[in-house]
């Protein structure tokens, strides 16, 4: 009876115990990595946030209009904290992936690898969107001022067109980078952009025929403006 007991119950238990014992160090290691990861994440996040505050990133982004843009997007956190939190969660993510890797289980390893492989694409896409946003702001402001100075009545429309053109381009590039519906994005963008250009060309051709004629005459033949009555000398 006791032999049966030892064979039927204790045996498997022993095997289970051995399994547990063999996994236990891994689990322990995973726990330690996670714990250490969180600590490092907290330190990095706090350090980055402090550093950015010291060098005055908040003030700078306020000037560049980033704060206002964030507020428009419903984010009330200031940029230093935002970047600090981003660092925190990036380190946490990396630590989690590393911790899972310690368990040495095939599906988890695969998942971790594909996740890591996606990170560069994600970063590139984020940079493209950010750069596109700032570029669109800068260009549309330049276009607006130039159009007002040239006395063009639809100045704001022209500036908005420039802004959305750049944002559209940046958005399409970012989506392509992320690999989301690549073909649809490229084709869709191509059709939209081509359509806009064609529409503008037709609109100019039909609506601005006389304007274009006058412009070309002025440029090529050097004929002066019709409203030359103004001979104010500024300098």
């Amino acid at each position: 009876m006791s032999e049966f007991l030892s064979q039927a119950i204790i045996g498997p238990l022993q095997i289970l115990g051995q399994h547990v014992l063999s996994v236990l160090p891994n689990l322990l290691a995973m726990g330690m990595i996670l714990l250490g990861g969180f600590a490092v994440a907290w330190l990095t996040g706090t350090f980055v946030e402090r550093l950015l505050r010291v060098i005055g990133v908040d003030h700078l982004s306020d000037r560049l209009g980033i704060n206002a843009a964030l507020l428009r997007g419903g984010i009330k956190t200031d940029p230093s904290r935002l970047i600090g939190r981003t660092f925190y969660w990036t380190v946490v993510l990396l630590a989690t992936v590393a911790a899972l890797g310690v368990l040495n289980l095939a599906p988890i390893n695969q998942f971790a690898q594909s996740l890591l492989a996606y990170v560069p694409h994600f970063v590139t896409a984020a940079v493209i969107v950010l750069a596109g946003y700032f570029l669109s702001n800068f260009i549309s402001q330049a276009v607006l001022i130039a159009a007002v100075n040239a006395g063009l009545p639809p100045a704001r429309l022209i500036a908005a067109t420039a802004r959305w053109g750049i944002l559209l381009l940046a958005g399409a590039m970012a989506l392509e980078q992320l690999g989301i519906a690549q073909n649809i994005v490229v084709v869709g963008f191509g059709i939209t952009w081509g359509g806009v250009v064609l529409a503008t060309a037709i609109a100019f051709g039909l609506g601005g025929k006389d304007l274009a004629k006058e412009f070309l005459e002025r440029r090529i033949a050097g004929r002066s403006r019709s409203d030359i009555t103004d001979d104010l000398r500024h300098l």
Binding site: R63, A142, A146, V148, G151, T229, D230, R233
Partner: protein
């Protein structure tokens, strides 16, 4: 900032060499040195440059017969016969009662390097003056129709015989001729640096050889100074370096219109950009300056008839009104809240009632200068966004002076200058303080060493 100051002007050889063509180098070696150098920047001025060269030659022969003189034509690649005309124009000495016992007038005709523009042309002239060790220099525009030989004496004599370092021109002009000068360059320069130079961007100047070397040593040749900013820069730099400045009465200035392709916005950007950049370099100087004093004026003053100027008022007001609707977001970044609020009140005002008062205009200019200094937005955008405001102010000036003579309009300009001077504390407050400052609070003290120092808030 340089070796140029009030206490003894030591002439140092410039370290920064401006590249010249091998032919010019060879010519300089042959000539060796000179007493007087007259520079003429040109670009496609075949129609007028002959007259200018004649006036210069006659002036030098008549008033400085025993001085060695060099005429330098710094050309921007003219496609007409400008250079040929400069090389071959001669004067008939008998016709002008000039004895023919003259020292030879050397002529250097050279292209210039760098950004195409008047400033780059001047840089080459400064370089040649420096290498030839010229004592006194003058520059005159190639598009002048009213230049006479006397101008050469008036521009050079104060340098050679009276101990001045810089001679600004003084013209009689129509009340609407030179509106950037009247509404901005003159009042602002006067309020900042305390010298009443009536035509700081006149175009014709006299300057000593050491001042030319000082100009050459400044690292500004990639900026607005290389273009239309050169005139105002030369004047402010002369005052700031401690040079002795004076003015010479030249009568009327009649010239072919400036490059007709140059649009107002670019011109304004270049002049105001050069003004604001100089404000940054010399803020220790103008912070201290409190009032202004008259600058000596040489020459015999007489009345002249000036060409009438036609003004398209509606277009200027329309441009200003469009700025009010479309550029409000941009102006919000660069102007104080109160200034913008006052401008908003002019929205949709009928064109003959659209007035930017002296005080409001001064605040616009001071706000813009402070915004430029603090880099609240792209500096290029800031300067360009001033165009509708400037047009609005010009329209207001035209409206208030419509029935007045040029002399009466001059009184209005004098009043504007006094407003600029009176509101200078406002500029200093905006320039040094931050938005969160309470009025009346001590704003800033600065490290009292150099213009490169930084402001420190008093805690």
């Amino acid at each position: 900032m340089g070796s140029y100051n009030r206490n003894g002007i030591a002439r140092t050889m410039s370290t920064a060499r401006t590249p010249l063509t091998p032919e010019t180098d060879a010519q300089i070696l042959t000539i060796g040195s000179t007493d007087i150098l007259v520079g003429i920047p040109s670009y496609n001025n075949a129609a007028t440059v002959g007259h200018v060269v004649q006036a210069v030659s006659a002036g030098l022969a008549k008033y400085f017969p025993d001085r060695r003189a060099v005429l330098v034509n710094s050309d921007g690649g003219s496609s007409d016969k400008t250079r040929d005309i400069v090389a071959h124009t001669i004067i008939d000495p008998n016709q002008l009662f000039i004895s023919d016992q003259q020292s030879v007038l050397h002529r250097i005709i050279t292209p210039y390097h760098g950004i195409p523009g008047k400033g780059s042309a001047f840089r080459t002239i400064f370089e040649i003056a420096n290498r030839l060790n010229a004592k006194a220099c003058a520059v005159v525009d190639a598009d002048l129709r009213s230049i006479a030989p006397e101008w050469i004496e008036l521009l050079l004599r104060p340098l050679l015989d009276e101990g001045y370092d810089y001679v600004a021109p003084y013209y009689l002009r129509h009340k609407y001729d030179g509106t950037i000068t009247n509404s901005l360059a003159y009042p602002l320069t006067r309020a900042l640096y305390g010298q009443r130079i009536r035509q700081p961007i006149g175009g014709e100047f006299g300057f000593s050889g050491s001042l030319a070397t000082h100009y050459l040593d400044q690292h500004v040749w990639e900026s607005e100074v290389a273009r239309f900013g050169i005139d105002i820069w030369m004047t402010t730099e002369a005052i700031a370096s401690g040079a002795r400045v004076c003015q010479s009465f030249l009568g009327a200035k009649i010239h072919n219109p400036k490059d007709p392709a140059a649009d107002l916005s670019a011109m304004l950007t270049q002049v105001v950009g050069a003004l604001f950049a100089a404000m940054e370099r010399h803020d220790t100087l103008w912070f201290r300056q409190e009032s202004s004093q008259p600058v000596p004026l040489f020459g015999f003053r007489y009345e002249v008839g000036v060409e009438p100027v036609h003004v398209n008022l509606e277009r200027m007001v329309a441009n200003f009104q469009q700025g009010l609707t479309d550029l409000e977001a941009v102006w919000q970044k660069m102007l104080a809240e109160d200034t913008l609020a006052q401008l908003r009140r002019l929205k949709n005002a009928p064109s003959n009632d659209c007035r930017i008062s002296d005080e409001l205009w001064v605040k616009v200019v001071y706000d813009a200068a402070a915004a430029y200094h603090k880099r609240v937005m792209s500096r290029d955008h800031l300067l360009k966004a001033l165009t509708p405001l400037y047009l609005g102010r010009t329209a207001s000036f035209v409206l208030t002076t419509q029935g007045l003579t040029s002399a009466e309009a001059e009184l209005r300009i004098e009043a504007l200058c006094q407003t600029f001077e009176r509101l200078k504390p406002y500029l200093i407050k905006r320039w040094a303080g931050s938005e969160s400052h309470e009025p009346g609070e001590p704003l800033a003290h600065r490290t009292a060493t150099d213009a490169g120092g930084t402001y420190e808030r008093i805690p």
